[in-house]
């Protein structure tokens, strides 16, 4: 048996979480380094996955398959296609930066008198690693049930991260702040749990249908199910398929999040520390969109096509609505959260446009948005940590005193507004082209997102960084070496992805082709070529 590389990739951070949590209370620096070391090991393992993965090879590679809960037809099945490889790599790459950015975020809690037994610093990093392990696992799982388990279980550590380690900077006094924080954590958990439970019903329904149709009895194996569908062994009644699709989609839409089930995100991102906010939006939420691509389209192609019009409309509403609300925010973290909602609209638009460009674009978008938001949010976090306020109005003229901070903020912001030359441009353009070629009107409506993105990013930049130097900015320190070390590679990555995304598209393209053939769609042919025929 070959080395279970995928399992190792997920186990490494989980192990790291355990080890980090076990570091004694007094040695919190050791805990930080432990966490960082394990996250870097994970990067190494993810790199190994990336190297071993052959873009032109089988659909799922590096597969592992063991019986787990035979009674439920559940197998421990892992495997990666191009999209999953990319997402695993994203997750692995982002987390070390989060650890670096949140290096001191939990220390204040540990300084509190009652906290000696609680060990917040250890807990903070252990929880982050735990989330990472679960996210990685859910990207790699090719068993629906296995996926579901981690899809749900990751809520718990995240919940503690949001509720337990809030952002101290806010517009309210501390007690009110704590209330807001726990409200945000509870809302996050209940929202996602509700989605997950609806999905559970659909998962069970899927099993029941599969158990009826398949000779081998009920199974959750994605490959088996997809193949059985293709061969006609597994058939859904039309209404059954639609209900099942809706059950899955609802959960993913909440996680993604799609309008109108998005409201947990601004709270969660606003109240958590910047690294946790990034963890949520850049990594965890991607599981939702990823799962739409893998499960909704893969398992229920006909229902997906059936639901496309509604999903597209919701995605468009997300794009415009998220952007407009971002414009209306006074709190910069909430602004970024609403911007993310807008961006998730693009991702979902790309997925459901059912074109190669749209889906490749959506996949790239997941990566690029992850990196871009990470950069923007982390720099915003650095800014906030200096002044202790999340309100945009409390800043001004920062570029004068902290030019590096302002500069990196601007670059990250420009990436967020999809400036050509940065990664997000490529993906946004692909999504738009892909959408336009099948749904011109949707493509044009989505374009308003481009303009609005420029508005909210630049207004944010203008209000915080430019203008006369305010009192708050006067004594502001520029980025520390640690902070610079966190941001610079992210920005370099953004530019690399914008200038030379080919390595990524080479990996993603075959997977997208598979998905397209699952759905049974082909790209619309150019009108002029059609006419010539």
């Amino acid at each position: 048996m070959s080395f279970p590389l995928l399992t190792a990739t997920a186990v490494a951070p989980a192990l790291g979480a355990v080890v980090t949590a076990a570091v004694p209370s007094a040695r919190r620096t050791a805990a930080k380094w432990t966490a960082l070391a394990f996250s870097l090991i994970t990067v190494g393992l993810a790199a190994a996955v990336l190297i071993r993965f052959e873009p032109g090879g089988d659909r799922y590679q590096l597969t592992e398959s063991h019986s787990w809960i035979a009674d439920f037809g559940v197998r421990y099945e892992l495997g990666v296609d191009g999209i999953a490889v990319a997402m695993v790599a994203l997750t692995a790459v982002i987390v070390p930066f989060l650890i670096g950015a949140g290096w001191n975020d939990a220390d204040h809690a540990q300084d509190a008198p009652a906290a000696r037994r609680w060990r917040p610093t250890q807990g903070f990093f252990a929880l982050i690693l735990m989330v990472e392990a679960m996210v990685v696992m859910s990207f790699m799982a090719t068993d629906v049930f296995l996926f579901y388990i981690f899809f749900e279980a990751m809520l718990i550590p995240l919940y503690f991260l949001i509720g337990g380690f809030g952002d101290r900077a806010g517009e309210h006094p501390e007690s009110e702040q704590a209330k807001q924080r726990s409200y945000a954590a509870v809302k996050f958990l209940l929202y996602n749990l509700a989605g997950g439970l609806v999905m559970l019903a659909a998962v069970i329904g899927l099993y029941v249908v599969a158990a009826d149709d398949l000779a081998g009895g009920g199974t959750f194996s994605l490959q088996t199910l997809v193949e059985a569908r293709a061969s006609g062994e597994l058939t859904f009644a039309e209404s059954t398929e639609r209900w099942l699709f809706l059950g899955f989609f609802f959960a993913f839409a909440i996680k993604a999040p799609l309008w109108p089930v998005h409201t947990w995100l601004p709270n969660a991102m606003g109240e958590s520390t910047a690294p946790v906010a990034v963890l949520i939006t850049a990594v965890v939420d991607k599981v939702g969109t990823f799962a739409m691509l893998r499960f909704c389209l893969g398992l229920f192609p006909e229902a997906s096509v059936w639901a496309t019009p509604v999903v597209l409309v919701l995605a468009l509403v997300s794009i415009v609505y998220g952007a407009l609300l971002a414009l209306g925010q006074r709190d910069m973290k909430r602004l970024i959260a609403y911007a993310s909602i807008s961006h998730f609209g693009f991702i979902i638009l790309g997925i459901f446009a059912m074109t190669s460009q749209g889906q490749s674009g959506a996949t790239l978008y997941m990566i690029n948005h992850g990196v871009a938001t990470a950069a923007l949010m982390l720099v915003a976090g650095f800014l906030i940590s200096r002044r202790g306020s999340r309100l945009i109005g409390d800043y001004g003229g920062v570029q004068k005193t902290a030019p590096l901070l302002a500069g990196t903020f601007l670059v990250a912001g420009l990436a967020t507004l999809s400036l050509p030359g940065t990664g997000p441009f490529v993906s946004e353009f692909l999504v738009l082209v892909g959408t336009f070629s099948r749904y011109p009107v949707a493509g044009i409506v989505a374009c308003t997102g481009i303009v609005l993105a420029a508005l909210y990013v630049l207004i944010l930049y203008q209000r915080t960084m430019t203008g006369p130097v305010t009192e708050a900015a006067g004594k502001m320190r520029d980025l520390r070496p640690r902070e610079l070390a966190v941001v610079t590679p992210l920005i370099a990555l953004l530019i690399f992805l914008g200038v030379f995304p080919k390595p990524l598209t080479d990996i993603v393209n075959p997977a997208v082709n598979h998905t397209m053939s699952d759905v049974g769609k082909t790209d619309p042919a150019p009108a002029e070529l059609e006419a010539r025929k």
Binding site: S67, W68, I69, A70, D71, F72, A114, A115, R117, W118, R119, Y148, I149, F150, E152, A153, L155, I156, Y159, F160, G163, G164, A178, R181, S182, A185, V186, L189, L190, L193, A194, L197, V198, L200, A201, I204, G205, Y207, V208, A211
Partner: protein, 552 residues
């Protein structure tokens, strides 16, 4: 038993035939009941100083032996191919019975540890005290009680009571005869009524709980008994097999003279409904649930834990056997009714729990909701349904025990601090304990990787497989509502600041530690690697149906 007893009476004139009792097959129950009787003798004859140790050892040994006996029987294939109806048709020894008896023995064993915990409160008059009143009949705090405490009168009789109750519970799901069912019900209930009244602290609440439990329990058993009478009237027998045969329209021998009275459907339906009601009372399903919160709150917490875990197991076992063995022919009659009960239980339990402020009441309502979930599996009427319900019961009972064990540890000077507001910030003071409690809550909520999820999944899957998708959807919705209050407790423990003068967590003896630890381990194991136990439950999913299967 009785049908054979009657034939014995009529046949006595010709040749005396003694019924064959398969002692070995009945050994688990017999061991427990025997030990209980022995425990009474211990109370009578062993010196006071040695009683605690003797009773503890006796109970533990008895329950361990009973568990071993169950294992031996199971290994001997009594659960599957060798299943039989022992005791002249009175008691079934089959998969579900053995599985549940095993679970019950374990639960009782663990509960004994909780009963025996004596380090939670400071010693009074130089003597370590447990959760039970020295002399419950005396006025709380009165001179009689003072004297009792000083004299070191210890309520070591709780152990035999527990054993009796356990014995009754072990018979309950195995009963293959309505009369045995009734007797087992009373044998398990009566000791519990008494145990409820024994709290050392908050005696008034404890007594009130006992009175309510007793009166309502007796009320319910009266219904049950009347139902039994009607069923007897319908089928002319108290034996499950015979009744099932009559319902199925294939009575082995039909006396034409009796045709007029037998097979009267009204008797069958009314009787069946009333028996059902008696059992639903025990499982705490809406609308027969109202005793649950009060009794759970008032009873001494170790008793609550035992009661919540074990009674539910036993009662569901009996319910399953009744529905699957006796009433499958009536499936179309009782199924809609149980649908209603299940939905009501799930929704009402979850909704009312939202606003609870006492941990024990909260868990009580949670148990009501869980009854609804298990009922969803029961309704499936398939081997999957049985095994999923069995698995759920096993998983649930340990989570419950663990949760109540934790409740015993969070104390302030007035005793257990069960009011939720006092739990604020517990996660910061005692992260480990709060973490374990959070684990139990998450298991209740059905979060993956805990036993609660595996159980819920199994039950819902069985229901969906049987076409009860609507029930699954309601169950899912109820789970979402339920998640709200579990999460609320977690928020309180972890995200609220500790109150000054709040409760502290007592460092318990290894007894309670082992309970909590075991419960946590079971919760995780059943969540992460449930396959072995699902297999067990799966093998135990078939009821022995006919007396014909009796070992010859």
């Amino acid at each position: 038993m009785s049908s054979d007893v009657s034939s014995l009476v009529t046949l006595a004139q010709t040749e005396p035939v003694f019924p064959e009792i398969q002692w070995a097959a009945l050994s688990p129950t017999l061991i427990v009941l025997g030990a209980a009787t022995l425990g009474i003798l211990v109370e009578a004859f062993v010196p006071r100083r040695a009683r605690y140790a003797t009773q503890l050892v006796l109970s533990v040994l008895a329950l361990a032996a009973a568990f071993s006996a169950v294992i031996v029987l199971a290994v001997g294939d009594y659960g599957t191919s060798e299943a039989l109806i022992a005791g002249a048709g009175a008691i079934a020894v089959d998969g579900p019975a053995l599985f549940l008896q095993g679970v019950l023995a374990l639960v009782a064993l663990v509960s004994v540890f909780l009963f025996a915990e004596r380090r939670l409160d400071p010693a009074e008059h130089g003597r370590p005290v447990d959760s039970f009143a020295a002399q419950p009949a005396a006025l709380p705090g009165g001179p009689a009680e003072q004297q009792a405490v000083r004299a070191g009168w210890m309520t070591t009789d709780v152990f035999p009571l527990l054993l009796f109750a356990t014995g009754g519970m072990m018979i309950f799901p195995a009963a293959n005869d309505l009369l045995v069912l009734f007797i087992a019900l009373e044998v398990l209930s009566l000791p519990l009524y008494m145990l409820c009244a024994l709290a050392r602290r908050r005696r008034l609440l404890s007594q009130e709980a006992a009175v309510k439990y007793f009166l309502l329990g007796a009320f319910a058993s009266a219904f049950l008994l009347f139902g039994i009478a009607l069923l007897y009237g319908y089928a002319g027998s108290l034996g499950y097999a015979r009744i099932a045969a009559v319902i199925g329209g294939t009575p082995p021998e039909l006396d034409p003279a009796l045709a007029a009275t037998m097979g009267n459907d009204a008797l069958l339906l009314i009787g069946g409904a009333m028996v059902l009601m008696g059992l639903l009372f025990k499982v705490g399903a809406v609308p027969f649930h109202m005793w649950t919160p009060d009794v759970y709150q008032g009873a001494p917490t170790p008793v609550t834990g035992f009661m919540a875990a074990a009674t539910k197991v036993a009662a569901f076992g009996a319910l399953l056997r009744l529905l699957y063995v006796v009433l499958p022919g009536l499936r179309w009659d009782w199924e809609p009714v149980l649908w209603g009960v299940a939905i009501l239980s799930m929704v009402a339990g979850a909704v009312i729990a939202i606003t609870q402020t006492d941990v024990k009441r909260l868990l009580a309502y949670s148990s009501i909701a869980h009854s609804g979930f298990i009922l969803a599996g029961v309704i499936a009427v398939s081997p999957d349904g049985v095994s999923s319900a069995l698995f759920y019961l096993a998983a649930y009972s340990f989570v419950t025990l663990g949760a109540f064990a934790v409740v015993t540890l969070v104390r302030d000077p007035q005793g257990e601090a069960t009011h939720l507001s006092k739990w604020a910030g517990l996660g910061r003071r005692s992260p480990l304990l709060a973490g374990v409690f959070a684990l139990f809550l998450l298991a209740f909520a059905g979060i993956p990787l805990t036993s609660g999820f595996a159980g819920k999944f199994a039950v819902f899957r069985a229901a969906a497989d049987a076409g009860a998708m609507g029930l699954v959807v309601v169950g899912v919705a109820a789970s979402a509502i339920a998640a709200f209050f579990y999460v609320r407790v977690i928020v309180l423990m972890f995200f609220s600041d500790p109150q000054p003068g709040g409760p502290s967590v007592v460092i318990p003896s290894p007894l309670t530690v082992s309970v909590v630890g075991l419960a946590a381990v079971v919760t995780l194991v059943l969540g992460i690697a449930p396959q072995y136990f699902l297999d067990l439950a799966g093998q135990a999913g078939v009821f022995v149906q006919q007396a014909a299967a009796t070992a010859r």
